[in-house]
Symmetry: C2
Subunit: 272 residues, 2 copies
Amino acid sequence: MFGMARLTPKQRMIRLRESQILDLARPMIAQGGLAALSMDAIAQELQTAKGTIYNHFPNKEEIVLALAVQAVDRRLELFNHAVMMRGTSRQRIAAIGIACEVYVDVLPDLFRAEQIIRHETVWGKTTEKRKEILRNCEGRCMHTVAGVARDAVAAGDMVLEAAHQIEDIVFGLWSLVYGGMVLETTSPSLVDVGIVDSRAAIRRNCNSMLDGLKWQPLYEPEPYSIWVQQVRTHLLANCPPAGAVAVEEPDPIRAETKPRKLAKPAKLGGRE
Amino acid sequence: MFGMARLTPKQRMIRLRESQILDLARPMIAQGGLAALSMDAIAQELQTAKGTIYNHFPNKEEIVLALAVQAVDRRLELFNHAVMMRGTSRQRIAAIGIACEVYVDVLPDLFRAEQIIRHETVWGKTTEKRKEILRNCEGRCMHTVAGVARDAVAAGDMVLEAAHQIEDIVFGLWSLVYGGMVLETTSPSLVDVGIVDSRAAIRRNCNSMLDGLKWQPLYEPEPYSIWVQQVRTHLLANCPPAGAVAVEEPDPIRAETKPRKLAKPAKLGGRE
DNA sequence: TTTGAAATTGACGGCTTGTCATTTTTGACA
DNA sequence: TGTCAAAAATGACAAGCCGTCAATTTCAAA
């Protein structure tokens, strides 16, 4: 109820360490992926035994998953800022796209973590609890975007075709932006082929898609680019770098306290 | 010049082993990513020493990269089949999208390899030669797609807006399909949120984007779905499973034959 | 048959993760 | 304040991995 106020100092230290672990893990992952995340290194830098780290996270994958939760949390925050901006529904949905750009630019480490959980064998090794948390966050992100689309329909800015669900549109924007960002950062042949400003390309492609859905008002290049800059700076102002915000975890997940086998009472047999 | 005809039996065996290695690696990678690819296991299954494997590929990453080359090769092949189909330019570009679906469905292991090289630290560890090969393949893929778009412009089916390059459109389709496929296979919350038929969603989104570009004729749901099935079965017929085709590598990449330090002549001093 | 180059071998160094019996710390309670 | 069970911390350990290389074997041309 009272946040950290009620915690004993020991418990505060434990929680603090949890975020310290994540702060240490973030650059490692960003540098070399899951393979570069070394439990030994974290323990050493934290001046702790390795077993202690494993008290917080049962394995490497769980750490990456925790970072992914941070990632989606931060993105949701940006989305909410974007959605609250005033303007047409078309502008608000575009603002979400810009939020994605800001997210990738300001929090590249977290974006990397998000990418990793999509490819490595993370789902088999991680806690159901934390997976559920991530699902929840992702769901809220989609819900936010879907909200703008629903507003557009309600306001008459867009009419839904027969078999075209709101969710499909959200999925499309998500694919376009996520796929574009991934290809941007990892495709060797993009520049060779003539994609010079991939961000602009992604924006134009999103606009093409929205135009195709007849989401009014249709795209007009003129005032657009100035407006993009305005939104971007506004969002940047509300996006501190990773690690700067103390994430208040309401229900911290500790590694399952396994019923510890009673240690043989030490110093028992006095005679010796 | 004469393929394998002129090779000594030993050399034939070596080339054969190369593809055997890849055949063994494919399911491993598909199952658990780069971490599940064990050089020891490959050596054991091939009944060879581990050093021999390293004669073919200088490290794990190079194996994945080789698989990625296979992947893009196969996809290019499918693209070419798709492009050669008769129909409007709009139909031919849609056929490429269907080719992507067939590719992911029939060759999931190769798709996985392609995903892995985009995320793990592969670019720093692999041969420039093979990276160049991959870039080349990717470039030809994009070229094929761009060709259809150029045909469309030439035929008057589409007019390019001012700052909208052909390459941007290709990039957009690529993002949409690749991103959609990745999210489809790795996003836990997709189904929860109401995306039931993600393939259909991807197709509709591609069509929205093309509609937005005013690529004629615009999307009409009626005849579309039947036609999709026809194209799909046609492409499926021309897509054998992975490992079934003997890939003829024109210029095989062997690990650099390092100038081997002269071993001390064995059994030199006869008297003993 | 000879012979030098190419291919193969497998033990080894150095790294990793995850475990667990043991020891230390903690905080509620008398 | 002193006691003590429960919680947390420890670090040596097993098991696994990758990539190397000196030594050995195989090969094919002469």
